[in-house]
């Protein structure tokens, strides 16, 4: 520690006393012993002099030579004095000093640290960010000086952290205490791991500092936990969005026709395979526009699933109105046929659907919380579909008819609503929305023949909890179930979460058999 302080004093002295570098230090760069070289590099770094950057850079590029007693930099056919930077005569037979890996590593971090004094704020910022993970106690004086000179608030904040990290190894308990206090403000797991050794007696002899460190770790932990929970809530939101896309269609078909469509999950699968088909098509014919396959897949998936839905309704479901339990079995049969068809057409293995490039990456909200773009886009997409469905149901003639049939089929028929056609349309609409759900699902999970099966139970839970015939119910139930299950998952594991949610639903239905948003009115069975 004392050494560093002396080095700091020396460094400060050299900075004020002379513009050029100390020739002795520069000479030491070409010393025989690696340890001497390292010491020289470190001392030169402490000066924070632009000349030091020049010399160290030359050394790292192998253009530093020893000529007699002088260190020279040779650039092409010109030669410069190492210490002063003046152009000199080309020396007779320059010797190249050995630069081994240890020296190279030392040079790299020295140059990185010196970037903190660069004139360009962008370079300084990048350097400060890079330093966060590789601070050593020797850097403390350097960082202190950089901090003094820094004007940019963002860089300053980063430097404070780096300086504090470096100071954790300071011999003075007061300095360590200040460092710990500064670090307590952060929320990064790396800083937590830096602080952890200080919470034990072996790592920190001073009681005051140790208690402070324990408190700091606790504070960081609680902030980390918050970030983690926010992350979970967000992934719950995106799960809820998928559930919503699945459940919207179900809510419509169940609301209008009183039919539980067990093949609804397979309509999700149809939509996902349609996405896969579009991807294959774009790869084969428009490889330059491959990123656009996903928007192109949206209408294709909608109509593919809607078409399958219409065929299902016309051939099977139409004949089973009023026999809900039998419909359950028949649609289950349909789902088996669809699964096996997908296996025959596309193979039993999962197919690969890749994210377009604009969906990869994410937004970093906190050091340990990154919201991936694909999930953000899915949430937005679900909201968009929800909006479209809301418009369709509330602002169009078709929507009015669908609502009329939902409320009172016989009366709607009497006033001239073509109920049979509305059934088909509503079924196609529900199927199409499931197809859209398949597009979204293809971006975050595997696409395979069995993919629909996993979502069907959850989608039904949404309909059961949300109540029938109301979009609002499905929305709240889907988001609530999604977030609740993800939070529980983080706390108790996926299986326990699933089971406890099921138990909650059963209890919930005890209290509200009609779901959250029941249609008001009196019903006779």
């Amino acid at each position: 520690m004392k050494k560093t302080l002396i080095a700091l004093l020396l460094g400060l002295g050299s900075l004020s006393a002379q513009a050029a570098l100390d020739p002795m230090q520069v000479r030491q760069l070409a010393a025989e012993d690696s340890t001497d070289k390292v010491a020289a590099i470190r001392q030169l770094t402490q000066t924070a002099d632009p000349d030091a950057v020049r010399v160290l850079k030359a050394m790292s590029e192998d253009s530093l030579f020893l000529a007699g007693d002088k260190v020279v930099i040779i650039d092409g056919d010109k030669a410069f004095d190492g210490a002063t930077g003046e152009a000199i005569k080309m020396p007779a037979n320059p010797e190249s000093p050995t630069v081994n890996n240890r020296i190279r590593g030392e040079l790299a971090s020295a140059l990185a640290a010196l970037k903190l004094f660069d004139a360009d704020a962008g370079v300084r910022l990048a350097s400060a960010q890079k330093l966060q993970s590789q601070v050593t106690p020797e850097m403390a004086p350097l960082l202190a000086r950089a901090l003094e000179k820094e004007t940019d608030a963002q860089i300053k904040a980063l430097l404070v952290l780096a300086h504090a990290q470096a100071n954790l190894g300071n011999a003075d308990p007061a300095a360590r205490l200040a460092a710990v206090k500064a670090l307590a403000e952060t929320s990064s797991p790396t800083i937590k791991s830096v602080l952890l050794p200080l919470t034990e007696k072996a790592g920190e002899p001073d009681d005051k500092v140790r208690y402070e460190a324990i408190a700091a770790v606790k504070a960081i932990d609680s902030r980390l936990a918050i970030a983690e929970n926010v992350g979970r809530a967000f992934s719950g939101l995106s799960l809820g969005s998928i559930l919503l896309l699945g459940a919207l269609g179900l809510a419509i078909t169940y609301g209008v026709m009183g039919i539980i469509n067990m093949a609804h999950g397979e309509l999700l699968m149809v939509g996902a395979y349609a996405t896969y088909g579009m991807q294959t098509l774009f790869r084969a014919y428009f490889p330059n526009a491959i990123d656009w396959y996903l928007p192109a897949a949206i209408p294709v998936a909608f109509f593919a699933a809607a078409l399958v839905g219409v065929i299902m309704e016309r051939t099977v479901i139409r004949w089973l109105y009023g026999r809900t339990l039998e419909t359950l079995l028949a649609t289950w049969g349909l789902s088996l046929v669809l699964i096996q068809s997908a296996r025959v057409l596309f193979g039993a293995q999962n197919v690969e659907v890749s994210n377009p490039s604009w969906m990869s990456g994410g937004i970093e909200v906190m050091p340990n919380l990154i919201l991936p773009w694909n999930r953000i886009i899915i949430v937005g997409f679900a909201m968009f579909v929800l909006f479209l469905v809301w418009v369709l149901m509330n602002k169009t003639r078709l929507g009015m008819f669908v609502r009329a049939v939902t409320q009172n089929r016989a009366m709607a028929g009497c006033v001239g609503v073509p109920t049979a056609r509305i059934d088909t349309m509503a079924f196609a609409l529900g199927a199409g929305i499931a197809g859209l759900g398949g597009v979204a699902l293809s971006q975050i999970s595997n696409v395979g023949p069995d993919m629909g099966q996993g979502y069907i139970v959850d989608s039904f839970m949404v309909v059961v909890v949300g109540g029938v015939g109301q979009l609002a119910g499905a929305v709240w139930a889907a988001l609530g179930l999604g977030i609740f299950s993800k939070l529980l998952e983080g706390w108790a594991g996926a299986v326990i979460a699933k089971i406890s949610i099921l138990v909650c639903i059963i209890i919930f239905i005890q209290k509200r058999p009609q779901g959250i948003f029941a249609l008001k009115g009196r019903f006779v069975e």
């Binding site: 079995l329 028949a330 139970v457 239905i509």
Partner: protein, 371 residues
Amino acid sequence: MRKPLTLRILSALDKKSWLALGIFLALALVVVPVLHLHFPEDSALHVSTYAITLIGKIMCYALVAVAMDLIWGYGGILSLGHGLFFALGGYAFGMYLMRQIGRDGSYGADLPDFMVFLDWKELPWFWLGSDKFGWVAFLVMAVPALVAFVFGYFAFRSRIKGVYFSIITQALTYAAMLLFFRNETGFGGNNGFTDFKRVLGYSITSSETRLVLFGLTAVMLAVTLVFSAWLVKSKFGRVLTAIRDAESRVMFIGYNPLWYKLTIWVISAVLCGIAGALYVPQVGIINPSEMSPGNSIEIAIWVAVGGRGTLIGPVIGAFVVNLAKSWFTVSFPEYWLFFLGLLFIVVTLMLPQGLVGLWKKIMTKKGAEAC
């Protein structure tokens, strides 16, 4: 004056049915063992081990189908979670079979192999007494009964019915499947129980043990059929059918449907548990996939194919569908799901009364033509 019990049981079936039942039992208990043991394997009359296992397995399924019919055909409640009760019975008896392996497992330890693999030092509490046949036989019935009672009480009390009930039972078996897939649950995780060696000290692979199990299953099926026939003809059964047809009216007359539904629901679950316990030693394996929603819904199709609301229908349905399944999965494995799917559709669309209904229709037509 009420008739004595024996008379009441006798009157549960008509003469023809008693005769058919007698022939069935004679076949299962005398003819099959004789054919299996006394004819060499190359003889045309020999009944192979494969056939005995297959038929034994299907009889277990038939038992489940009858249980399902009690609740669906007579109670009007479609359960899509009966695979759970079947598997619970199977797991309960599987615990006993695992303990009977003793030190003959691949690790040669006192604990079942999977526990050694998980580095457990002692049996979990719920394995207590699993080496006693009597206690396990009790568990086989008590565990499904308890689960069914608790779940059914809450579901029926809040008058969940129709598709809602079906969906919730499906979710129940799905959740249970996930639970049993976990290694920490203590039932062997993914692999479940297998590699059984003995039952009650007798080798599980010997012909005699197989025949005894086969016979037991046949007797159990016969007893269940007689019991069910008596049950559905009793006052209880009539109230149940009335609830199926018009629950509100039954309530207004002054019956509380809760207890009727709950009773038949628990009886049905217990029968499934027994079927599961008979199934496991014959097939030699039980794993969580028995609880998959697909398996449970298949039970419903056995009943639908045979004919709901009749007692012979489910038995016929279980045999027809499962024989078709074993034929398809050997000859055209990729078409089995197509066939099963179409079966679901065709039966619900064209044969709402199942094969028994079709038969009755043909007979009445013949009868009408004869007149």
